[in-house]
Amino acid sequence: MEMNQLPFFLFAAIAVLASLGVVGQRNPMHSVLLLIVSFGALAGLYVLLDAPFSAVTQIIVYAGAIMVLFLFVVMLLNAHTEDDSPGARREPWVYRAFVVVSLLLGLEVAWALSGLGLASFSTDPGTVSSISSVATIGVALFTKHSFAFEVTSILILVSMVGAVVIARKEP
C-alpha cells in the first residue's frame, strides 16, 4: 500500500497537539480527555502502518479501559485543579544544565536519523498481508513468545492484588 502523506500529517498533528494539551492543562479531567484524542490519532497511525490489530487494541485497551480507570480516579479524588503553591525553586544552573543536555540529546538523535537516510517501507503485497493479519500475530504470540505471554498473566495477577492492597482503607 502506497503510504499517503496527508493522513500521516493529519494524525501526527492531532497526536502532537493533543499531547501538548495534556501537558499544558491544569484540569486533570481535560488532560485525560485530550489523551484519549491522542490515542485515537495513534490508532489511525497504526492503521497506516498496516497494523490493524494494534490499532484496535489501542482503542479498546488504552482509550477504553486504562483511560476510564484514570477518569474514575480523577472523579473520585475530586481534585479539579493543580495546587497554586510554588514548588521547590531550583538553582539557575540546573535549568541551564537541562537545556544543554536536551540540546546534546537532540543533536545525537538528528545524527542517528541522518545516518538512516530515507528508509521507505516495503510495498511487497505478501509482506504486507502477512504482518497485517491477526492470525500471524496469534501464531507468533502463542509459539515464539508463549513464555512472555504466560509471565504477563503473573504480572497482571500481582498488580491486581497489589492495587487492592494499596488502595484499601486502613482499619
Binding site: S31, S54, L77, V158, M160
Partner: protein, 100 residues
C-alpha cells in the same frame, strides 16, 4: 512518500512532550498521564520498525507494553489514592518525607 524517519521523529517528539510533562507538572495524575504518552511514543516506534523490517514482532512487543501499562496504571492510581488519603493533595512536593 512517508518514510520510517517520519514515524521516528514523530515518536521522538511525543516522547519529549511526555518527558517535559513529568518534569514540569506538579500533579500526580498528570505525571502518570505523561508516562502514558511516553509509553505510546515507544509503541509507535515498535510498530513502525516492525513494519519496516517486515515482521510481526513489533506489534507483539506493543501488546506486552500495553499490558505493562495497564498494570502500571492500576498500581500507580492505587498509590495516588493512598497518598491523597494521607495528605489531601496531589502535589508531589507534599510527599517528600518517607514517614509521617
Amino acid at each position: 512518500m512517508v518514510t520510517l524517519n517520519h514515524f521516528l521523529i514523530l515518536s521522538g517528539v511525543l516522547f519529549a512532550i511526555g518527558t517535559v510533562g513529568v518534569f514540569l507538572r506538579r500533579n500526580l495524575i498528570t505525571i502518570l498521564l505523561s508516562i502514558e504518552i511516553m509509553l505510546n511514543a515507544v509503541n509507535l516506534t515498535f510498530v513502525a520498525t516492525g513494519r519496516y523490517v517486515g515482521t510481526v514482532d513489533g506489534q507483539i512487543i506493543t501488546f506486552f507494553v500495553m499490558t505493562v501499562a495497564a498494570a502500571e496504571a492500576a498500581v500507580g492510581l492505587a498509590l495516588v489514592i493512598a497518598l491523597f488519603r494521607h495528605r489531601e493533595t496531589l502535589s508531589p512536593d507534599a510527599f517528600t518525607s518517607l514517614k509521617w
